[in-house]
C-alpha cells in the first residue's frame, strides 16, 4: 500500500516547485533590470531630450508625456468611477440592472488593450476630431482604468460597517449626507489605493496610446492637451524594436525608469492598504 504521507510530501514538493517557477523568474526580471538599468540613470538621462535619433541624450519628454497622460486619465476616471462605486455600494438593489452593470465592468476590464486603442482612434481621434493628442490618449486610458477604480472603491465603501450608516440616518441625516460625511471619509484609504493602482496601470500601458497620442520622436515638450506627446512605454517599445543600434544602456535605463515608476505606485498602494488595516477601528 502507498504511504499517504509520502504522497503528501511529493505533492507538496511539486507545489513548491510550481511556486518557485513563478517567483524566481519574476525576481530575476527585476534584478536584471535594476542591475543593468541603474548605472544608466543620471541627472542628464532624466532631464535631457533624446538626441542623435534617440541613440543618446535622455528621456525627459517621455517622462513628462506619461505624467500628463496619467493625470488626464485619472481626472476623467476618478469622478465617474467613484460615483459608479457609490451607486453600486449604496443605491443599487439586487436586481437585473445591478447584474448587468457588474457584467459590464467585468467586460470592460477584459477588453484587450489594443482594442481600447482602436476605440480611442475611432471615437476621440477621428469622430470627435481631437486628433492624436494628449486629450484622446488620456480619455482612452481613463476608460481603460475605470473598472479598476470602480471595483476597488466599491470594496472600500462596502467595508464601512452598516451600523455607521444606521446611526447617521437615525440622527436625521439624509442618505446623501450620510454618504458624504460618514461613508466616504471612512473609505478614503481604499479609494486612494484603487486610484494609485489605476495610475500605475495607465502609466505602463502601450497599446491604447499607440494610435491616440504617442509620438515616435518629439524633442520639445507638449504645449497643450491637443498636442502629441512621447510616453515612456511607447518610447521603450520604439528604442527596443524600431530603432537599430541603440546603446543597451539606454534601453535598460528606460525600462528601469518605467518599471520603477509603476512599482513605486504599487508600493505606495500596498503601504496605504496595510496602514489602513492596522488602524481600522471596527
Amino acid at each position: 500500500m502507498r504511504n499517504p504521507h509520502r504522497t503528501q510530501n511529493i505533492a507538496f514538493f511539486f507545489l513548491l516547485v510550481t511556486t518557485l517557477l513563478i517567483v524566481v523568474p519574476v525576481g530575476l526580471i527585476v534584478v536584471i533590470i535594476i542591475q543593468k538599468g541603474l548605472p544608466a540613470i543620471n541627472w542628464q538621462f532624466l532631464s535631457d531630450v533624446p538626441r542623435q535619433g534617440m541613440r543618446a541624450g535622455g528621456i525627459f519628454p517621455a517622462i513628462i508625456g506619461t505624467v500628463y497622460l496619467v493625470s488626464g486619465a485619472i481626472i476623467f476616471a476618478l469622478p465617474i468611477g467613484l460615483l459608479a462605486a457609490i451607486y453600486l455600494s449604496e443605491y443599487s438593489k439586487d436586481n437585473p440592472l445591478n447584474r448587468i452593470i457588474k457584467l459590464a465592468i467585468v467586460n470592460l476590464a477584459g477588453v484587450p488593450s489594443v482594442v481600447y486603442g482602436l476605440f480611442g482612434l475611432a471615437l476621440f481621434v477621428i469622430f470627435f476630431k481631437f486628433g492624436a493628442s494628449i486629450l484622446s490618449g488620456s480619455l482612452t486610458l481613463g476608460i481603460m482604468i475605470l473598472p479598476i477604480i470602480i471595483t476597488t472603491s466599491r470594496e472600500a465603501l462596502e467595508s464601512v460597517p452598516q451600523s455607521f450608516r444606521e446611526v447617521s440616518l437615525s440622527l436625521g441625516a439624509s442618505k446623501w449626507q450620510t454618504i458624504r460625511h460618514i461613508v466616504l471619509p471612512n473609505a478614503v484609504p481604499g479609494i486612494l489605493t484603487g486610484t494609485i493602482l489605476g495610475l500605475g496601470r495607465a502609466a505602463g500601458e502601450t497599446a491604447p496610446i499607440l494610435f491616440t497620442v504617442a509620438a515616435f520622436y518629439l524633442p520639445q515638450l507638449p504645449k497643450s492637451i491637443f498636442d502629441q506627446a512621447m510616453a515612456l512605454p511607447y518610447h521603450l517599445y520604439v528604442i527596443s524594436t524600431q530603432v537599430p543600434n541603440v546603446d543597451e544602456k539606454i534601453r535598460y535605463g528606460t525600462a528601469f525608469v518605467l518599471l520603477a515608476l509603476v512599482l513605486f505606485m504599487n508600493l505606495i498602494a500596498i503601504i496605504i492598504r496595510t496602514k489602513f488595516r492596522k488602524k481600522k477601528k471596527w
Binding site: T19, I22, A84, Y91, A109, K175, T206, L210, Y237, L259
Partner: protein, 287 residues
C-alpha cells in the same frame, strides 16, 4: 433647495453607475461602425477563413486565418505552461505556505501583475529570445514558443489570484470534516478542496487565457510577426492583437486595410466578451 441638490446628485450617481454599460456598448458600436465596411469587399467567410493576409497588395487579400491560428497557437502554448504552474502555485499559497511566506508570495504575484507588458516584452527580447535560438539552433529566436513562455507569465497572476480566492472560499468545515476522518492534508486538498473550488478555478483559467489572447505588446515584440500560416511552434507567427498594433499606424484612414483592422478588433472584442461572460457565470454558480 437641499432636496433639489440631493436629487441632482443622486441622478448623477445613477448615470455614472450605468456608465460602464454605456462604455461597453460604445466600444462595440464604434468597432462595428468602422469594421463592418470591410465586408463590402470580402465576405465574412473569406475574411475569417481566408489563408492570405496581404492587406496592402493590389487588390488587398484580407484573410485572417493565419492571424487567428497564430493567436491560437501562442495561446495554447501559454495555457499548457501557465495552467499547471498557476493552479499549483495557488494551492501552495492557499493551503501549504506558512503565514509570513504566504504574504511574501502574494506580493511577488502582485509584482508580476504590475510589470508593464512592454517591459516584459523587452526582457523577453534580451533574455528569452537568444536562449530559444541557441537551444533549438534556429535562425531566429522570435518564435511562437518564445511568445507562449512570455505570455504564460502574464496569465499566471490572474490564474493564481482568482484560483486562490476560490480555494479560500471553500467552507472551513469541509476541510475539518476530511481531516477529522483521518485524511492527510494532501488527500483533503486533492479529494475535497480542489473539487469544491473547481468552478472558481475554471473561471480563473478562462480569465487567464482571456488575458493572453488580448495581450499585445509583449507578443508583438517577441513572436517575430510573420503573417503566414503557422506550421511549427518554433517558427515566427503573428497574432490578431499584434497585427492591429503593428499595422494601424500605417493604414490610411478609410482604406480597406483600415476597415479590416477594425474587423479584427471586432473578432477580439467578441472573443473577450464570450470568455468574460462565461467565466463570470462560473464564478456566479459557486455562490
Amino acid at each position: 433647495m437641499r432636496k433639489f441638490k440631493e436629487f441632482v446628485i443622486e441622478k448623477l450617481i445613477l448615470i455614472c453607475g450605468i456608465a460602464s454599460i454605456f462604455f461597453v456598448i460604445l466600444i462595440f458600436l464604434f468597432l462595428l461602425k468602422e469594421g463592418l465596411s470591410v465586408f463590402g469587399t470580402v465576405s465574412p467567410f473569406n475574411f475569417l477563413f481566408g489563408k492570405s493576409w496581404y492587406p496592402i497588395s493590389e487588390p488587398p487579400q484580407l484573410g485572417i486565418l493565419p492571424l487567428i491560428l497564430g493567436s491560437l497557437l501562442v495561446t495554447l502554448g501559454a495555457a499548457i505552461i501557465s495552467i499547471p504552474i498557476g493552479v499549483g502555485c495557488a494551492v501552495y499559497i492557499a493551503e501549504v505556505a506558512p503565514g509570513r511566506i504566504k504574504e511574501i508570495l502574494k506580493s511577488g504575484i502582485e509584482l508580476l501583475a504590475a510589470i508593464p507588458s512592454v517591459v516584459l516584452g523587452f526582457i523577453g527580447m534580451v533574455t528569452l529570445v537568444p536562449l530559444v535560438k541557441n537551444i533549438f539552433h534556429l535562425p531566429t529566436g522570435l518564435t511562437a514558443l518564445s511568445g507562449s513562455i512570455m505570455l504564460a507569465f502574464m496569465a499566471m497572476p490572474t490564474i493564481v489570484s482568482i484560483a486562490e480566492d476560490a480555494l479560500y472560499s471553500v467552507p472551513k468545515t469541509y476541510k475539518e470534516g476530511a481531516l477529522a476522518l483521518g485524511a492527510t492534508h494532501w488527500q483533503t486538498i486533492w479529494r475535497v478542496i480542489l473539487p469544491a473550488a473547481s468552478s472558481g478555478i475554471l473561471a480563473a483559467i478562462m480569465l487567464g487565457i482571456g488575458r493572453v489572447i488580448g495581450e499585445t505588446m509583449a507578443v508583438m515584440m517577441i513572436t517575430g510577426n510573420a503573417a503566414v500560416m503557422p506550421n511549427s511552434i518554433l517558427a515566427p507567427v503573428r497574432t490578431l492583437t499584434a497585427t492591429i498594433a503593428a499595422e494601424m499606424g500605417e493604414a490610411v484612414v478609410g482604406s480597406e486595410h483600415y476597415f479590416a483592422l477594425f474587423a479584427v478588433g471586432i473578432v477580439l472584442f467578441v472573443i473577450s466578451f464570450i470568455v468574460n461572460v462565461t467565466a463570470d457565470l462560473f464564478l456566479h454558480k459557486k455562490q
